[in-house]
């Protein structure tokens, strides 16, 4: 019982420092979420779902301060046409953001959304609540209860440019909680970009409802601040013939836990989640994915690649759950790490749970080093060891990066990866 008592005191200590935003259309959802997180308690290392990732710095009362990281790189996604929405240490920055009006989409700030009946009312916290079963995700419930800012994006058409969320980190002690809600109407299509380190500690939740025939693209680049800590959740529900594609690049970061929970509820829906991460030294990256097939003829792909060096740690927990009536499911999952030295480690827990009989599911997980024969072959043709290693490393990451449909975005991610590798050569 000592464990339970400890869990309660951790939870109380964290929640005690937060205050529930009062009033407004989200009040009920927030109160419910608070009750959920109190009932669940915040995660601890003893929890099975946190076996490979220490949650303490994510759950303790105060954020561990994180030094700001200076770099002179041009901001990612900066070259393309986009609608910019900027947050500084988790607070919407109207000055730095563009005008939020854009054809085919309405965007409101969570903190300002009108108190009359808002479309997000039925969605805020709803997908998160659904995603608590069968595995508890207390940090997401905490987010729903206490989020101080975020955007509500209602996509009614096909906006002409991506919506680009940029998260700046300016204060060494910032502790940000953001919650975004995105709804795509039937047949709508949008691309959402995210980048930046955000805060010393960042808890972010994104709920995405993709209606029948709608298409959602998501490309995210998690900033290079070494000391940042982040726990993020994506909850998505997919309608008939809808498409959801999410890619995340993570470079550096002492602790990142990205959870992605997807429910395929309409027939012939498609969900692809991919990630490429590169870590050097004090780096811990955790991809935790849970995809539920609950309709006929759906396809899901999970492609996660990690490059680890100098004692970096990569974690992958990925599950495909195929419900009884989800016949003709096509599920694919691969998680691989490239360990550039003996000190780094990759911990993987791939899981399949299948109740339908007519399905095709495959999963694989590997850890390996650079192929010495390939390296020698390249060098024997005159390519020096550093660039040759980079070339092989990018080739290793390619399957994940290729999940990005848009060529410009794909090139941009590849350029960032190449630049990172060049900076981090041995």
């Amino acid at each position: 019982m000592a464990d339970a008592a400890e869990k309660i005191s951790t939870t109380d200590a964290r929640l005690g420092g937060l205050s529930l935003p009062a009033g407004g259309w989200s009040e009920t959802a927030r109160k419910d979420a608070l009750a959920r997180v109190q009932a669940m308690g915040l995660p601890e290392r003893r929890d099975e779902y946190w076996k490979y990732t220490r949650p303490d710095t994510l759950t303790q009362a105060d954020a561990v301060p994180a030094a700001l990281f200076d770099n002179d790189e041009a901001p990612i996604f900066g070259e393309m046409e986009r609608l910019n929405i900027v947050f500084v240490d988790g607070v919407f920055d109207a000055e730095a953001s563009d005008d939020l009006s854009l054809e085919g989409v309405t965007i409101d700030r969570l903190a300002e959304a009108a108190t009359d009946i808002h479309w997000a009312r039925d969605l805020y916290g709803a997908l998160e609540t659904k995603g608590q079963d069968p595995v508890a995700r207390p940090l997401a419930a905490l987010n729903t209860a206490f989020a101080t800012d975020g955007v509500l994006i209602h996509v009614t058409g096909n906006p002409s440019k991506p919506i680009n969320l940029t998260y700046h980190h300016r204060s060494e002690t910032s502790d940000a909680i953001l919650h975004h809600v995105i709804r795509l109407d039937p047949g709508a299509e949008v691309t959402v970009l995210e980048s930046g380190p955000a805060a010393a500690r960042f808890n972010k939740c994104m709920e995405v409802e993709v209606a029948d025939g709608a298409t959602f693209h998501h490309v995210r680049a998690q900033g290079r601040d070494h000391e940042r800590r982040a726990a993020t959740h994506i909850f998505a529900r997919l309608g008939t013939e809808s498409v959801f594609k999410s890619f995340t690049l993570t470079a550096n970061g002492v602790l990142t836990r990205n959870e992605c929970v997807i429910e395929l509820t309409g027939d012939d829906a498609v969900a692809h989640v991919a990630g490429a991460c590169v870590g050097d030294g004090d780096f811990h990256h955790d991809d935790t994915v849970f995809i539920t097939h609950d309709a006929v003829g759906c396809e899901s792909r999970q492609v996660f690649k990690k490059v680890l060096r100098n004692g970096a740690t990569g974690v992958f927990q990925g599950k495909i759950l195929v419900k009884k009536d989800a016949q003709k499911t096509d599920g694919y999952q691969i998680s691989q790490s490239l360990l550039l030295d003996d000190d780094s480690q990759f911990l993987a827990k791939p899981e399949l749970e299948i109740y339908a009989d007519d399905v095709a599911c495959s999963h694989g997980s590997t850890s390996g080093a650079i192929d010495e024969d390939a390296l020698f072959y390249l060098r024997s043709r005159g390519v020096p060891e550093g660039p040759a290693t980079d070339l092989l490393t990018l080739a290793f990451l390619a399957e994940a990066v290729e999940e990005i449909e848009n060529e410009d975005l794909r090139d941009e991610i590849n350029d960032r990866l190449a630049a990172w590798l060049e900076r981090h050569r041995s």
Binding site: D371, E372, D373, A374, F376, Y377, L378, R379, S380, R381, G382, V383, P384, E385, P387, A388, L391, L392, L394, A395, F396, A398, E399
Partner: protein, 251 residues
């Protein structure tokens, strides 16, 4: 061009001596062939010259135009003009053949302080040479050697050689796995590169290749040493009688 003296090589991991005093002098403009029984050390010689790890030079030297190649990194040897067509070309998933070739050509140019080749220039050059070797556009786009047939891999080696224009070319059993027509193509590729300033070392088991690529000198390697050298007639003798007589004669 390439001057090898008393080269002794053992495996790094094991106490196994593989090359036991190789002497070889390849002049610019000449084609030398090496034949010899399986396991006699021919590939090892080619690997040691190109800088593969796992071997330890215990004695002797190898100079490329006076420079000690054994002291150089593999990429430095390549930039200095050494090229090895592998007996077993390596597959590299995820790296496009074109990207690979262009990276290699420009890396060598950069190392030599020359200007890099522009994308357009490069494309033109590759296309012309690929056509001569009957390598189609699809093969150029695919990842390096992945899914290539044995013969396609060998032709791809010659394409790389043609693009890199090395001064000292070592071909390790480039004829094995080739059909008669492909062998001709490869031989033509090699012959096209023959010039005053370029040396060749052709490792082969068969006289047939040497019908197309006329060697100036033929060497027989056995148990880590060159045991006999002669003219093209030596290859014919091997073809007809095997190694028995030669080995008995030198024993």
């Amino acid at each position: 061009m390439l001057s090898i003296k008393n080269l002794h090589v053992k495996l790094e991991e094991e106490d196994k001596q593989i090359l036991k005093g190789v002497d070889l002098e390849i002049e610019a403009g000449k084609v030398h062939a090496i034949m010899g029984p399986n396991g006699s050390g021919k590939s090892t010689l080619s690997y040691v010259l190109s800088g593969k790890e796992g071997y330890e030079v215990t004695d002797g030297s190898a100079l490329l135009e006076g420079a000690d190649v054994l002291e150089m990194e593999p990429e430095e040897r390549a930039a200095a003009g050494l090229f090895l067509a592998f007996q077993y070309p390596v597959e590299i998933p995820g790296v496009g053949n074109m990207t690979f070739l262009r990276t290699a050509v420009n890396a060598q140019r950069k190392a030599r302080g020359e200007e890099e080749m522009s994308a357009a220039e490069f494309l033109k050059a590759v296309r012309a040479r690929a056509k001569e070797l009957k390598i189609d556009a699809d093969m150029l786009k695919r990842p390096v050697n992945v899914g290539f047939s044995g013969g396609e891999k060998k032709r791809n080696e010659i394409l790389q050689m043609a693009m890199l224009e090395p001064r000292m070319c070592i071909l390790d059993e480039t004829d094995s796995g080739l059909d008669v027509d492909a062998m001709k193509l490869v031989a033509e590729g090699v012959n096209a590169l023959r010039s005053e300033g370029r040396g060749f070392l052709v490792i082969t088991h068969y006289q047939r290749l040497l019908d197309h690529i006329k060697p100036d000198v033929v060497h027989i390697m056995a148990d880590g040493k060159i045991v006999k050298s002669g003219g093209p007639e030596l290859a014919l003798e091997v073809e007809n009688n095997g190694y028995g007589d030669i080995l008995a004669e030198v024993a």
